[in-house]
Symmetry: C2
Subunit: 486 residues, 2 copies
C-alpha cells in the first residue's frame, strides 16, 4: 500500500548516502583553536560515529588521535560526505578539490551566500552549486548545520541531553540551524526520538523536496516534520507533499508568514516565502498538518509517536486534581471539539464505593481530590475508568503544585505513587492515555516534574505541559487518523 | 480622579477587616491529627501572622504553644475572623456560636453545600447564611481556601516558594482553591507579587462584586484579577466592573464557557455560568480583559506590574539569537499587530562597526549570533538599539539551549554576562524591555533558566517563556493603555 504512491515520485537515492555515509571528512579543523570544524569533529567522535573519520585543516597537526590533513586530496580512502567549515570565500576552490576527490556530498556550514542579500553572495552560491553539480557532487546548505542521525552517530553539536538521545521514528528537515537544535534538545527531553534530521539552510542544491522524498521512503521514519522558510520549486514540493502526507503524518511549520517574517527569512536563508494562505491551502489539500511554532510541531510529533492510529475518537474521560482545573479542562476539550460524556450511573456508583460524596464529582471530569493522595484509590479509579467503553481517551491532569501544597496532600512520594499507578495502567495494556503535567515552579518542583515526566515517557505515555496543548494535539491527531489513508 | 467613580459604588467596608483582621480563630484544629484546621493554623504561624491567633478544637489540647479551646465561646478576647475547618453538617450550630461571640466574618472551608447539587446542600448553605446575616456576621465561602495576604501574614497553605513571596500590587479573587494556589505558586515564581487574594468558593454571602469593589478601593492593589465560574448578581457585578476596569486594569478568567465546563462549574461551586458571549460583551464594554486560562492571566498581571503605562506604542525592536528564531519572532509580532520597522541605515552602520557582515542581520530583528557570546558586544548592541527613538519596546530573545549547544557558544558564563548586560540597560533607565527566556530542557538547563529569570525579575524586567505569550500580553497591555482612562 505504501509503494504505489511512492513509485511515482522522483527518485531520491543520492540522499541515502547523506544520512549514512561510510566516511566523513571534517574540513576546517584547527588543532589549537576551538573553531567550528574542531567542534564538529569532536562532536562526531563523542556521539560515536562509526565510519572512517578524517580531519582536514590548513595547518595540519592532529587532534584526539586523528591526523589533520592539509588537503582533502591527501586522504587516501574514499570520502562519502564532507562537513565543510571554512569561510564562504574559500569554498569554490575547495569544491573543485571535492570534485577531483569524487566525494558524494558536501555540507557547507558557512554563511555569506545568497542569504546575505547582495549580488556577490548570490553569485558565490550559484558558482558553488555549478561546480558541484558538474562534478556529480551534491551540496547540503550552505548556511546550515547538516545531518543529525543518532543511529549513525552523526551530529553537529554537543547536546545537553546525551543520556536521553536514542534513535526513533521521527524524521525532520529544517531550514534553520537554531530551530534544528531546539527541536532536538526540547524534543528529546519530551520523549521524541529522531530517525534522521537535517538542517539545510539555503537549500541551494538538496532541498525540501529531496528530503521529503527521502523521509517518505525511509523505513525508520514514521512521522515527518519540516520547518520551511521558502521552497525552491513550489510545484515540485507541493506535488511531493500531496503524495506523502496522507501516508506518513507530515507536519509543516512555515516561517515567514508575515511581511516582517518574510523579510527576516530573506536575510536568514535567502528565501522567498510565499503567502500564508497558499500554505494553508496546500497543507489542507495534501493532508499535511500546518503548525504555528516549534512547540506545536513537537506536540504533534509526540502524539503521533506515542498513540496508536487504529482506533480513535472524540470522547474523553478526564481525571483532575481540583474543581477549578476540572472546569477549565472541560472547557478546553469541548472547545477543541471533543465530548466529555457523563459517566453512566453504574460507573459513578463504582467510583463512589471509595470516594466521598462530598468534595467529589464523579460525572466527568472525575474531580476527586482524595484519590490524588492515595495511590491505591487513584489506581482503582483509573481501572474503573479504563474499563468503561464509552470513552476513547483517558486524560489525566496531574498538578505537582496542587499536590505539593495541598493541605492534606502527601507530597512527592504521593505523586510518585500516582505516576506509578498510571504507568501500571499502561503496562496492563491501556494505551489511550495522555498525561498533562505542568511543572513551572521552584527548582524542587521542576526537578520532581522532570523525574515524573521521564518516568511516564519511558513507559510510552505522552506528556503535555498544558491541557490546551494536549487537546490541540489530540484534535489534530484524531483528525488526521480519520481522514488519512492509513 | 479615582474617587469619583468609586463614590457611586456600594460600600464594601466590611471586607476591609476580612483582609486585615486583628485576631483569627482557626476552628477544627486537632492536636494529634494532621487535619485541615491544624494545617491552616501551622501555615499562619509559619507565614508570620502578627495578630492574636486562637485555636479551637473538640478535643482541646495545645499545638505549637497555642491552647486549643473546646469552643469559640471560651476565647476571652474579640475574634475578627474565623477560619472554620469543621464538616459541613456541624457548621450551623457553630455559626450560632459565632453570632453569640460577635465575630466579624467566618470563612467556611468545608464543601458539601450547594455545589453538591442536592437539595440538602443548598438548604444547608441558605440556612448558614441566614444565621450569619441575622447576627451581623459575614460569610466567606463555603467550599474555599480563604484569604491570602503576605503583608498581614495570612495564608491557607505552605507555599513551595516562601523565599520568593513578598507583598505587591496585584489583587485577586478566585472561585477555585486550586486555581488560587496555582496563581500564587506560579505567579510568585514569575515575579508577580500579590497585595491580597481571596479564594471564595460558592460565594454564598461575600462574592465577586464585593471583592471587586474592595480591590477597586484598596490602595495597595494596582492590578486586579478574577477567576469566576458564575456570578450571584449579574447586574451588580457588571455595573461594578464597568466602574472599575477602566481605572484599574482588571483581568477576568471565566470558567464554565462550554456545556461541559458549565456542568463542571455547577458541581464545583454550584455556579450558573452564563454564556461565553455575554462575558465577552461585558468585558469589552467595561474595559476588562477577558483571558482564556491562568497562564494568560499571569502574563497580563506581569506586564501590568512591570511596564509603565505613560508611554506605549506598537513598534518593536527585536534582538534574537538565531535566524530561525528571528523569522518566527517577526511573524509573531506582526500577527499580534505590532510593526517591526527596519532600523535606519545609521543604526545598522553603527551595529556593523562591531558585528560581521556575514551571518548577521542588522535590519530588525537584529540577528547577530556573535553578540550573544560576547557580552561587551551584546551590551553595545543593546545600547545602540535603546538609543534609537523609532521603537517603543525592545524585545530580547534569549535562548539557553542555543547558547549552551552552539558550536561557538560560551555556555553558562556567557549567558550570565548577557543577562547582566540586560539588567545594566534597565538600571540605566531603559525600562521598555521584555525578555523571552524559554527554559524547557534537562535539569541543568532549567536550573540555569530559573537563575537567569529570577535575576531579571529582581531587576524589574518582565520575562516570558515564549515569544507568542510576550507578544499577546504586550498587545493587550498597549490596547488597554490606549483605551483606558489613565
Amino acid at each position: 500500500m505504501l509503494s504505489e504512491p511512492l513509485e511515482s515520485l522522483p527518485s531520491g537515492y543520492e540522499i541515502t548516502s547523506l544520512f549514512s555515509p561510510r566516511s566523513i571528512a571534517v574540513v576546517g579543523v584547527s588543532q589549537e583553536r576551538k573553531n567550528a570544524g574542531q567542534g564538529m569533529l569532536l562532536s562526531l567522535l563523542k556521539f560515536g560515529y562509526k565510519g572512517a573519520l578524517y580531519a582536514v585543516g590548513l595547518h595540519g597537526g592532529q587532534i584526539s588521535g586523528i591526523e589533520i590533513y592539509r588537503s582533502i586530496l591527501d586522504i587516501s580512502g574514499p570520502v562519502d560526505y564532507v562537513i565543510c567549515c571554512i569561510p564562504a570565500d574559500a569554498t569554490l576552490k575547495f569544491m573543485k578539490d571535492c570534485v577531483r576527490k569524487g566525494v558524494g556530498a558536501v555540507h557547507i556550514f558557512a554563511s555569506g551566500f545568497s542569504e546575505s542579500g547582495n549580488a556577490k553572495g548570490r553569485r558565490l552560491e550559484r558558482k558553488l552549486v555549478d561546480i558541484a553539480r558538474s562534478g556529480g557532487v551534491r551540496v547540503l546548505g550552505p548556511n546550515c548545520l547538516g545531518i543529525f542521525s543518532p543511529r549513525e552517530g552523526m551530529t553537529f553539536y554537543d547536546t545537553t541531553a546525551p543520556f536521553l538521545i536514542r534513535s526513533g521514528a521521527v524524521g525532520f528537515f529544517c531550514q534553520s540551524g537554531g530551530n534544528t537544535r531546539e527541536l532536538i534538545e526540547t524534543g528529546t527531553v519530551r520523549g521524541i526520538h529522531f530517525s534522521k534530521g537535517v538542517s539545510y539552510g539555503n537549500g541551494s542544491d538538496l532541498s525540501e523536496s529531496d528530503f521529503l522524498q527521502f523521509f517518505a521512503r525511509d523505513e525508520e521514519t514514521k512521522v515527518i516534520g519540516g520547518y520551511i522558510e521558502g521552497v525552491k520549486n513550489g510545484r515540485n514540493f507541493f506535488e511531493t507533499l500531496q503524495g506523502i502526507a496522507s501516508i506518513k503524518p507530515t507536519i509543516i511549520f512555515k516561517g515567514g508568514q508575515t511581511r516582517a517574517g518574510k523579510l527576516a527569512a530573506a536575510t536568514h536563508t535567502g528565501s522567498l516565502s510565499g503567502t500564508a494562505h497558499i500554505w494553508e491551502v496546500v497543507c489542507r489539500q495534501s493532508g499535511a498538518m500546518l503548525v504555528n511554532d516549534l512547540d506545536e510541531m513537537m506536540d504533534l510529533m509526540l502524539v503521533f509517536s506515542y498513540l496508536g492510529r487504529e482506533k480513535t475518537g472524540r470522547k474523553v474521560g478526564i481525571v483532575s486534581v481540583s474543581g477549578g482545573r476540572s472546569v477549565q479542562c472541560a472547557d478546553i476539550w469541548e472547545k477543541e471539539g471533543f465530548s466529555i460524556p457523563h459517566f453512566p450511573l453504574e460507573v459513578q456508583r463504582e467510583l463512589h464505593l471509595f470516594t466521598p460524596e462530598v468534595g467529589t464529582s464523579t460525572r466527568n471530569p472525575l474531580d476527586a481530590y482524595v484519590v490524588f493522595w492515595d495511590a491505591s484509590l487513584f489506581s482503582r479509579a483509573l481501572k474503573v475508568l479504563s474499563e468503561y467503553r464509552g470513552i476513547d481517551y483517558l486524560i489525566i491532569d496531574v498538578s505537582i503544585i496542587l499536590s505539593l501544597t495541598g493541605i492534606q496532600g502527601g507530597g512527592a512520594e504521593s505523586l510518585r505513587a500516582q505516576i506509578e499507578a498510571i504507568v501500571h495502567l499502561s503496562e496492563q495494556g491501556f494505551k489511550r492515555l495522555i498525561v498533562v503535567l505542568p511543572f513551572e515552579g521552584v527548582l524542587d518542583t521542576m526537578k520532581l516534574g522532570f523525574e515524573l515526566e521521564q518516568r511516564l515517557i519511558g513507559a510510552g505515555i505522552p506528556v503535555y505541559p498544558t491541557m490546551l496543548r494536549a487537546a490541540s494535539a489530540l484534535k489534530r491527531f484524531v483528525g488526521y487518523c480519520e481522514n488519512g489513508s492509513s
